[in-house]
Subunit: 741 residues, 2 copies
């Protein structure tokens, strides 16, 4: 029995819900309901009208990019200022007490400052908007996958997110401000594209055409891409991130718009940050994190080095997997014991204080002094017990924002770090980072991962150059590139992103020649890591029991057919249905269906009827609210007809059925669904294999897929949860259970 | 009446076929036929089996990348050597005669050498494989779109293509060697992935699983990407090119494999070319064309310059459109008058001779002498009538491979070119390039476009710096970046690629900061150009009457339904059908259908039957060839059962029906189609709107889509040509006619 098995058996004892699929999440509907109202509107629209819509889409994408860039700018400047203030204060204090002794006072000051920042941030998140915790990337992944996570794209979430991330980075936690940018961009996109804020009760009456899931999801893709682009200065990486996570059907114009938003976003950030840094026109800050330039002539690698990088590949996957396993336990622990907001705030403060203490102890006990060069990148060099003109090397790593530490590891000249310092730092920072991710603060895991990887990568580089120094191949003497490869390996091992991460890393380094080794490293990290445990984001998605759809059905699922996969019996409505029955069905909390096939002539206990269409809960609710009953048709002649606008106004927060009052008389009325149902829903025969059903469902971004027999009678309904249930476990195909929570 | 209208009315008189859709092109089938044989095989396969398949896919992609890189390397070295030999010979000759007079002999030598090279190349193309003419990008676009162009991915085509492109570039035509790389990569992919060459009658008995359209098309995407990657040193650009042109359903693993192939390809090229250039380890040649490094500190642009680049945007689109209009006429002219191979060879030779003559005349009459600096990038500086230590500046542009000329325009220091020289050069090269594209030689249009654009871009830059020189803003003094923007504008105006071209340009310059202005320039060029005429590749695709599917149905087509779009009546088969009827239907050359719905119980003149499945012509032919008749079932018991392998062995060149002998007795036999048909073809109801049908068809890469009534009876069949017929003209929706040719 290996250690891994012991760990696994231990895990089974802890209650968690990764083997369940929650039913509380609803799907986004990427397929337009082509009912008569919709078709009439589309047919009325001229060619010019479509062109105007297209122009409006571009304008929105430009706005998304601009606002996302501004927010990134705001976060960056706020963090710089706050952290600058904090480090200056602590540094002065330390310098004062270094001479006279009594450094413990400095420690207390540092720890107190950190805890205070983190407390404010954690209170905002824990008490006002818990969904703003973490990096937000798992939530955005789910949204782009087609799952509606409640509150994830609200304005309030954005405000708390931005405020929270400033606090937690300024509070010195082992976190980055990059991940939250992706979430922020997505919220900006969702807000701007709808032309209103439901939270603020403000409707600008613009962009009303885009008030439906299809359009909104497209814009959110653009927002996420703009976020990535602002975070890393990687517009192409942003586009690929959005596509990797979200795209089901690749659309050329959409991709082009996403790219536009990304470009505007990085350009805006670059422009304003350059002004802030006092170098307008230089455009030297395309992203929040800037890896600095890896010039090919300074640190080029020789071809066989990509194979020499080989031993680096495995630690990435393994350390990444270790990170994920520990974080998984911790998350389970938190789910079980730390679910009250005040406990969450206290844990966050504790971590902040411990981070400061550990950092202080490390700096205090380290005696690795380095000469203070002219070209040093340190902003707050700590002399401490070093000789004059020297600084404490451990402080470089700890007494700094993590972004700066990463850059130092990449670019400081050979010999800046002592191997022991790096080793201890790696270990300590690893533990801190694992503990920090999952706290109730908004913060990302990208930068800590890069930092850990850069530290051990540089350590390996130093060791390698020591071994090979006899041959005096000067090109190996630069450990910066090993730090870069290590950083990629560690990050890849934790998040397991592939294509987009390669491009992001390449764009952030600004050097295309590193693309090949970075790709190899990320691939190996993914393969090695997947052997042990899934990626960090996937773990957190699974622990939330989200019905997440992967790219393909499990390969060995060809023996399953739609008949076995579908849910049945299905609640169907007649073309002209009694209002009472509709209200009863919608009010039934035990089923809580969202889509209902409309059939020709059926009563409740007979054999299924022929499919005529599909109608959604949200549509029925709007119909009930406007009392569109057959009996009232005559009196309605004076009223205006129901239009698509009425559906759009109610989007996306359709009122619950309980809020709609239907009198006893009205219950006996009839409702004609013909005009409002989608008359041509996609259907599949019962014998269709699961991969085929999956492909149709995924490629078209469906929410409901009707299964029919050879007479076109409805026999079942396939939804997201039916497909997400099947996944490939260690022993072949496994089926998850469904939970109501 | 504007000039444009006059031009249009003139065009109408010339017979051409862009308003027709040819029926001779068949579709690729991106949807697997999930018949019993297929399902049995998939169900038999273990999880391990699928993993092995996946590994094999990666190996194939690696091979594709490697071979594509090698081919690019071969082309580059061959061109360098041949062109080097030619230019040295001519240069010596010119130097000899400059002193003594009689330069006309040099001219004759030059023209003769050029014509000889071009003649050899043109003969190979015109007489042996006409499909190898041009850049091959339109053909690959069609293939990735799902249209089977005959002979396009054969080994013979590759050989002629490579040979032809070496000849035409060495022959000094105004062409590039980059476009053909994309075609070459695609052929390599098609060959390697099938594990055999039908032309060479060599079957390696490997990769048999991949012998179907779905898999082959995926690999061809990877090959095209690898080609782009090798041509421009742009692996991400390559991936985006493939996706922009080909992807219908975005698949993460596939994209990742495509990226792998691209990376390997550029790495291989880089590795071998570095060795060839005597600098192993420097890895400085990631692509065939190398724009050289635009260092941000040397030639950075200030933000408002992107708006200052604005006047550059329009010439790109307009000059591009002009290029396309003239080339369109020329192509019509060629279709009409120059269709015999010997005429085509003669035209190519004429162009080669004229190119040499014009270049010679320009050099001869130019008196723009520049001092020969130490850091000059000229390989063959011509002194001619210049003073000692100076060289003729016009010769820089003409007496060089076009790649080098582009690089000179980007990077030569300010003042290297006289504005008049650039103006005349732009004009002359424009005419030559227009005339050259469409000749019966293999050659690309990328480099000439870049060269034209770089020339007028630099010209504008010089003018601008003259105007603003009073303010002495030194940053504007570098005309190289204006050359870059001009090159992007011109290329964008001609080919109208968007996302992928931006990324290709950014990767080729190696500087992310130029991404924003390049994107703006390409967008404007596309918008302006589209106002006048389509992109060059689209024009050529249209002139071939290819049923090309765009991304979406025309926006104003919501009033069309499947009932109006579909072809009907449909030839259906029974589940158990008489062999004679099958043979008759397949032999009917007037219909030449490729897919047949299988229905329950129908006779020829009755009402349509219920759909049970779909069977393809290719499957029926294999069945007929193996005589899988019900009556022979008893005797077949001794024989082995028909397997998927039999279908794969016949792929992709299924024999014509005429080659299969069916005796009179056999005609009375019955054939059971149940086991071989796809039992769950996708169907849509008759009322489905065209955009919805289009989306399903395009997203899943279908070849046949069955239209059914509400009893599930077959009423029609939608194929590619039914959808490609509708397109948006100037006056709204237009319908193309179908032609049999």
């Amino acid at each position: 029995m290996t250690v891994y098995d012991i760990v696994k058996s231990r895990l089974k004892e802890i209650p968690h819900n990764e083997k369940l699929l929650s039913l509380k999440y609803e799907s986004l509907d990427y397929d337009n309901s082509e009912n008569q109202l919709f078709l009439e509107e589309e047919r009325r629209m001229s060619h010019m009208g479509f062109r105007c819509l297209e122009i409006r889409r571009w304008v929105i994408c430009g706005l998304i990019g601009f606002l996302t860039g501004l927010i990134a700018c705001l976060i960056d400047i706020a963090v710089e200022e706050l952290a600058g203030y904090k480090y200056s204060a602590v540094k002065q204090n330390i310098e004062k007490f270094t001479e006279f002794g009594g450094l413990s006072i400095s420690l207390i000051l540092w720890a107190a400052l950190n805890s205070a920042f983190v407390m404010v941030g954690a209170i905002a998140v824990a008490f006002f908007e818990p969904i703003a915790a973490g990096s937000g990337i798992p939530q955005i992944k789910c949204y782009l996958n087609g799952v509606k996570i409640p509150c994830v794209v609200r304005l309030k979430t954005l405000a708390i997110k931005v405020f929270g991330v400033i606090c937690s980075v300024a509070g010195g936690l082992a976190v980055g401000k990059e991940g939250p940018m992706i979430h922020s961009g997505a919220v900006v996109a969702a807000g701007v594209s709808q032309g209103r804020s439901t939270s603020l009760k403000k409707d600008f009456k613009i962009f009303e055409y885009f008030r439906r899931d299809t359009e909104k999801r497209d814009f959110v893709s653009a927002g996420a891409a703009a976020g990535v682009s602002a975070a890393f200065g990687a517009p192409v990486g942003g586009v690929l991130f959005s596509l990797e996570e979200g795209a089901s059907f690749w659309n050329q114009m959409l991709t082009w718009r996403i790219f536009f938003a990304s470009m505007i976003s990085t350009f805006t950030l670059n422009f304003f940050l350059s002004i802030y840094h006092g170098k307008p026109g230089e455009l030297s800050s395309p992203g929040l994190i800037n890896f600095g330039r890896f010039d090919s002539d300074v640190s080029s690698y020789i071809p066989f080095e990509s194979f020499l990088f080989f031993p680096y590949y495995f630690p990435g996957g393994m350390l990444g997997a270790l990170f994920n396993v520990i974080n998984y336990w911790l998350t389970i622990f938190r789910i079980r014991y730390i679910h009250r907001p005040c406990l969450q705030v206290m844990e966050a403060m504790l971590v902040a204080a411990v981070t400061a203490t550990v950092a202080f102890a490390m700096i205090y006990f380290s005696n690795d002094c380095q000469p203070l060069g002219q070209d040093s990148t340190e902003e707050y060099p700590l002399q401490l017990f070093c000789a004059d003109g020297e600084y404490n090397s451990m402080a470089t790593a700890f007494f700094n924002t993590p972004e700066r530490s990463v850059r130092s590891l990449f670019h400081n000249p050979p010999g800046s770090y002592n191997p022991l310092t790096l080793g201890v730092f790696t270990l300590v920072y690893f533990v801190l980072a694992v503990w920090t991710y999952g706290l109730t603060v908004s913060a990302g895991v990208f930068i800590p991962s890069l930092l850990i990887g850069a530290a051990w990568g540089r350590l390996f580089g130093i060791l390698l150059s020591t071994i090979t120094s006899s041959q005096s191949v000067s090109i190996w003497a630069d450990p910066g590139k090993y730090a870069l490869i290590g950083a990629a390996a560690q990050l890849g091992g934790i998040v397991r992103m592939t294509l987009s991460l390669t491009v992001i890393m390449v764009e952030a380094t600004g050097n295309v020649t590193y693309g090949f080794p970075i790709m190899l490293v990320l691939m190996t990290a993914k393969i090695v890591g997947d052997y042990f445990i899934e990626g960090l984001y996937d773990i957190h998605i699974k622990l939330q029991s989200v019905p997440f759809l992967h790219w393909d059905a499990p390969p060995t699922s060809h023996w399953l057919t739609a008949r076995e996969v579908m849910s049945s019996p299905v609640t169907c409505f007649n073309r002209v249905e009694r209002v009472g029955r509709i209200v009863d069905v919608l009010s039934n909390t035990s089923t809580n269906h969202n889509g209902f096939p409309v059939v020709a002539h059926t009563t409740e206990n007979e054999e299924p009827g022929k499919i005529c269409g599909l109608i959604l809960r949200s549509q029925l609710i709007v119909l009930l609210k406007h009392k569109v009953f057959v009996e009232r048709a005559s009196s309605r002649l004076s009223q205006r007809r129901l239009q698509l606008k009425d559906f759009r106004d109610a989007y996306p927060r359709f009122p619950p059925i309980q809020s709609i009052h239907v009198s006893q008389d009205e219950r006996e009325c009839m409702m004609d669904l013909n005009e409002f149902m989608n008359p041509t829903p996609y259907t599949v025969p019962q014998e269709t294999s699961l991969p085929r059903v999956f492909k149709l469902f995924r490629a078209l971004g469906l929410r409901h897929l009707v299964v029919v027999d050879d007479e076109n009678r409805v026999v079942g309904l396939v939804t997201r949860k039916d497909l997400a249930r099947y996944h490939l476990g260690k022993d072949g195909l496994e089926e998850l259970q469904l939970a109501q929570t």
